[in-house]
Subunit: 352 residues, 2 copies
């Protein structure tokens, strides 16, 4: 039985991080926020427990939420598109610009979903290695393409490109440039101020990380209204449930809460990075809510498995076996990680 | 500025029905259910007002919900895929089977989203008119295609094809056959019993209509596990929020509630259809939660607009100007519709 289009038959899908939900694990594998969202979110959901928000279709364009995003971020509503997580928005963007053999370019390593989405479209994906210091390689600027994508801060490395680098890329590229800022609330600056100057810039945000709303699936896209209009064609009519719209609205009503949590996480990140250095790991400079740690030339799968046995879940990618990506939990979580890694080191005599 | 793929640049998107949310209208334009969902739904959502369901990613495959669907409908979990509404599932299915110039066949008129989804894929869509009695035309059976789609009960007509017709189509087709059963809980039978016999059959359901959960965005796909596995590649990792999973689980826990509402709506449909016949309309025999009424040769846009002025919203499609599609509200709602239509007739002397 082979009904699928041939290129889909052979390709593999994207594999998300494990999602055990038994509460047994210290879960540091998918960059969730260890702190709860603003109390306004629960309050707003309580108010929304009304058959009206269950039985009626939700606003297709998330009107009130779009207004709120506009108010918070300073671009008019028609520059904004709300998605069922930023994954849906990425999906729309890839389908909008990439057909068979169309070229998409992005630095590598990065979010591997980009490759999966390119494969769906039978696009020609060029993965160009970052410079050793995780700045952009020259060919990202010069290569012609139908689309370029930058994850910033980048996953899985956590490294960050200052806005001046993004601006240089926009100036040297005539194609759409997607800046995936899922983690940007943990970084020093963001690309939103560039939006008015470059009509091919698309910025993606999510409420999953800094706003602690991964469970509600809310992504936000910013772009010139001409682009937003085109993306709308590809969007499912009712892509965001009433409850998710309500939750996101309430979270954005309390930006201060998000910022305080982000500050705590940045502090934890700095303490944890120091401790990992002391343990002998190479620690990439992170501006995200996770840290990539390395033992160049070694395979860290055993460390990942031993941590898992000890009920600590971090992210191991077989594609980058000498590295682990560890999300920032609470300070206590991270002390537990360090303590366990020390024990594992001792037991194995450092031969991880 | 023209960054989009050329075929997207020129095409139009699907336009969903209007969604006024001020509560002023009797809203009979998008086939929502006038009755609230099972009280278990609100109860379950109350129990779920917990930061855990906000901050953590939801189960990618909706494990517990899949188990519940399996229990209710009698197919194992790996025959089941949960979507962000059945629109997302349609989107996945069209992308799975249709590339440029691949042929998709469906009877017409039907849900116009099929055309939009085919256009996205640059597919070759054949819209074959139904027979005058809304049975399937012979060429649907004989035409070779990469996919065939049947909306059953059909929207916007409300007409229904007995399972024997679907079985005949499956026997005569070697390609995937999608049976979109969004409205099937209001019909006499459904295609689920055929599922085990035909490995190319894909059945779509939604909790938006009969379960009164349009606001929560829950679609359900049934197909052979080999097909489900392929569709999974195309699905966004976390496509259904925690809250929507919880709401759907609770609704399925109380099938009796759904069935009682469906019975009420079927009764309303029969009373309303009679009254519309008396008013001189042609009424298509409906097995859905809406009725299509016609004045052959006339344009009913004015009737639609006059009803709207009177705060009654029904669906007018410019593609079928001699028809209106009217969702079934409560009995009182439908009496109001009839009363207003009578007044409109009087005012215009029948010259609608």
């Amino acid at each position: 039985m082979s009904y699928f289009r041939p290129h889909l038959e052979t390709m593999k899908g994207y594999v998300p991080g494990e999602q055990p939900h038994d509460g047994e694990f210290i879960k540091l594998n998918t960059n969730e926020n260890p702190y709860p969202p603003s109390p306004l979110v629960i309050e707003s959901l309580k108010q929304s427990l009304n058959p009206r928000y269950l039985g009626l279709y939700p606003p297709p364009l998330c009107d009130e939420l779009r207004e709120k995003v506009s108010e918070v971020y300073g671009y008019p509503p028609d520059w904004i598109l709300i998605g069922n997580g930023s994954d849906e928005l990425l999906n729309i963007v890839f389908r909008a610009f990439l057909g068979k053999n169309d070229r998409v370019v992005y630095p590598f390593p990065t979010y591997t979903l980009y490759r999966t989405l390119a494969l769906f479209q039978e696009a020609d994906y060029h993965e160009i290695p970052f410079n050793p210091d995780y700045t952009l390689p020259e060919s990202i600027f010069t290569k012609s393409a139908c689309m370029k994508v930058i994850c910033n801060p980048n996953s899985p490395t956590g490294t960050f490109l200052p806005s001046s680098h993004i601006e240089k890329l926009l100036k040297s590229s005539s194609c759409p440039v997607v800046v995936d800022e899922a983690y940007v609330d943990f970084a020093r600056e963001n690309a939103l101020p560039l939006l008015g100057q470059f009509d091919q810039l698309i910025i993606l945000r999510t409420l999953s990380k800094s706003f602690s709303l991964a469970g509600m699936r809310i992504g936000v896209l910013f772009a010139h209204p001409n682009l937003v209009d085109g993306f709308l064609k590809l969007k499912d009519s009712y892509n965001v449930s009433w409850f998710s719209q309500k939750a996101a609205w309430a979270a954005l009503q309390d930006i201060q809460h998000m910022k305080q949590n982000a500050e705590k996480i940045k502090h934890t990140r700095s303490v944890f990075s120091e401790a990992m250095l002391e343990l002998g790991y190479v620690v990439l400079p992170s501006e995200a809510n996770f840290v990539m740690v390395k033992r160049p030339g070694k395979n860290l799968e055993r460390v990942y498995l031993q941590l898992k046995q000890r009920k600590i879940l971090v992210r191991y990618f077989s594609e980058w076996p000498d590295s682990l990506r560890i999300s920032m939990g609470t300070d206590a979580n991270m002390e537990t990680v360090i303590g366990n890694l020390r024990e594992i080191e001792k037991e194995t005599g450092g031969h991880v």
